[in-house]
Symmetry: C2
Subunit: 207 residues, 2 copies
DNA sequence: TTCATTTTTTACCAATTCGCATAAAAAGAT
DNA sequence: ATCTTTTTATGCGAATTGGTAAAAAATGAA
């Protein structure tokens, strides 16, 4: 089933490209400080077109947040598969995250940390949907780390230890995001990440 | 030298009380989403009075941020002096911070995390003064942890190890702030904090 | 060509934003 | 009592906000 040729005036924009542009604006400014005019300028569209395609400002923001979370998940999962063993894989993931946070990946050129952590936080007390979205993002990171650790250290850690270690790694990662947004350099952050992983999940030959 | 009796109409507000009220508004909403009308309502003053006393919105915000950092510093330092040894003192400090982040101290009733970390971040890319303020806050925490560790573990750690461990603790603390703002409970956060300290600066009888 | 459909564009709206100018009020000083 | 000083209160204003109505444009279908 191909899509039938579309009726009406054709769109002058690509939805994916536009959403990426919208993402950049929110990434830099956060939710509250971003205006639809800024988004309109960044995308080359005007407000009514944006509204027709993506809904309200809040819709766009939540859309972009979940888009970001998905991309980040894929990107980090892939980075974690280039090595073996819990400790090396976790290091690889944190280092990849730092590259993302400091604008070294094709997701963004700007060193603005984690889009979700940096911008959702601030809005969280005023809007329960944002608060929920933040909770979901955090839980997803916890689960991701936990499943990697569980998989790589079969039996040698209790489920309790696994979950705690996973949360420690996520805590570290969020702290790194903040420092990235504060302007800290990638290399400093990566050293911090590696030494942190060594304390949380020390290297062992077994896993 | 006493202050001479003041000329002119007396102020109807106490500067300290008002600044605390201003702090609550920024704490909840962040900088961008806070309006002067909201501040006016929270303080019972009107905008011209606020402006005359505290300057612009940005002035007020930076004022409140440094006020917060000072108070936090005093509060945590005191909490860290109720015990002895690096590991117990660090735990006491993190636990006190969590109480603050979750609205269990007299600084605020609201569980909005760390005012500086939560709200400065978002604004950081758009304003170099905010970015600088964030850097200062982070560095201050790093230094605080480092000096405690240095003092409690005389000689048994290299300066490099001390600074790295201090930064790990600050990273964890910032991660905890985010989770507090996301609505996580104090007890869960405190368990995470304690187990993290045990990994970063394990308990030893010597210090 | 004419019509139906979809998007773009222009223009507008009501509400809010920060800041300030000006006037009224409340105190001490003379 | 009158003047000076300081603060409070009223109200304006220019700009920006998110959102939408209505018209114009661009395409396929008939």
């Amino acid at each position: 089933m191909k899509t039938e040729t579309r009726r009406g005036r054709p769109r002058k924009f690509d939805e994916d490209v536009t959403l990426d542009q919208v993402m950049q604006v929110f990434w830099r400014n956060g939710y509250a400080a971003t205006s639809l005019d800024q988004i309109a300028e960044a995308t080359g569209l005007n407000r009514p077109s944006l509204y027709a395609a993506f809904g309200s400002k809040k819709d766009m923001y939540l859309n972009v947040i979940s888009r970001f979370a998905d991309r980040m998940h894929v990107y980090l999962a892939e980075a974690g598969q280039q090595t073996a063993g819990a400790n090396p894989r976790l290091k690889a993931i944190l280092i990849a995250a730092i590259d993302l946070y400091t604008g070294q990946t094709d997701l963004t050129d700007a060193p603005y940390g984690c889009l979700a952590i940096s911008t959702l936080q601030t809005e969280s007390p005023r809007d329960s949907e944002f608060k929920e979205a933040l909770t979901v993002v955090i839980a997803r990171m916890d689960k991701g780390f936990a499943s990697l650790i569980r998989h790589e250290t079969k039996g040698s850690m209790t489920e309790q230890e696994i979950c705690t270690a996973a949360q420690h790694l996520a805590l570290i990662l969020h702290g790194l995001s903040i420092r990235a947004r504060a302007g800290e350099t990638p290399n400093v952050l990566k050293r911090l990440a590696e030494s942190a992983v060594d304390k949380i999940i020390p290297f062992s030959n077994g896993n």
